[in-house]
Symmetry: C2
Subunit: 140 residues, 2 copies
DNA sequence: TCCCACTTGCGAAACATTCGCATCTGGATA
DNA sequence: TATCCAGATGCGAATGTTTCGCAAGTGGGA
């Protein structure tokens, strides 16, 4: 828990939420975060507020899953990474490297790029296998 | 209005919604679509239902804007295109070509890619100009 | 230790989206 | 063309997520 913005108080809820995000291997929804810290007793609205502040301070990243209208958050580990999301099981797998090269060209004179988002969707090996075997059963 | 899936009735609401999407130059939210067709009287829940069906039939595409948790829809013109979105004015500008090449490599044996999403964010020339001039005023 | 600006508890409110069911209607068929 | 019915819509309630308001509580600087 380095990189704590000066001026931000280390309150119980903030520290608890930060720890949950730090320990998570996959991005979490506000509800999941709330569930994971809630041996204590924090309010869901507080979780939202804290996540909002963390996001402003760029401590965390807000991402959209395949199904829009479920927001997820993850710690900003300050790495430039993109992911492949399995449509079957929602697991996320890192891409070896950023597929966007420097030569992106926008059809608008003077557009200044600050950021980009890349997401790849598909099926992981297990889900492919599961689909194949259930298909065999149905066909038989 | 070609490409109408056979088996899908041409009801008033469906036709109206389709026309709105066909005429739109930018993706629209369900509410905007509802507003644009509503010289007649369609129900917002109907708009959602119809959009869901259109999406299933792959007649339209559902996309996430810069602020996640605001869903937008646009007609599927069956072109492979990506966009740069201006963070200032939310206008969308087409990219010259898809920056994703064939060599995407996922760190998961056997992952099968079916789809990808690329979005670039930044500022268009007008917004940059606007920011510059207002900054000058403040600095003065 | 005191103090106060910033946080949180708590619940209500504001949204977006989905669901249920009675009624209606497009379009296949006679 | 008239009839019929599976599927579509009107309508509003329900659900789920996210934000807001305000009184009470608390971290951390003086």
């Amino acid at each position: 828990m380095n990189a704590w913005p000066k001026g931000m108080k280390r309150t119980k809820s903030r520290v608890a939420i930060y720890k949950v995000l730090e320990a998570a291997s996959q991005p979490l929804s506000p509800k999941e975060i709330h569930a994971r810290i809630n041996q204590g007793d924090f309010w869901l609205s507080t979780v939202y507020r804290v996540l909002g502040q963390f996001e402003q301070e760029k401590m965390i990243l807000r991402i959209a899953g395949m199904d829009v209208n479920h927001t997820l958050f993850e710690l900003n580990r300050h790495e430039h990474k993109h992911f492949a999301v399995c449509v079957g099981c929602h697991q996320r797998f890192e891409l070896d490297d950023c597929p966007i090269h420097e030569d992106v060209h926008v059809q608008a004179e003077g557009f200044e790029i600050t950021e980009h988002r890349v997401e790849v969707f598909g099926y992981c090996a297990e889900c492919l296998e599961r689909m194949r075997s259930s298909k065999v059963k149905h066909d038989a």
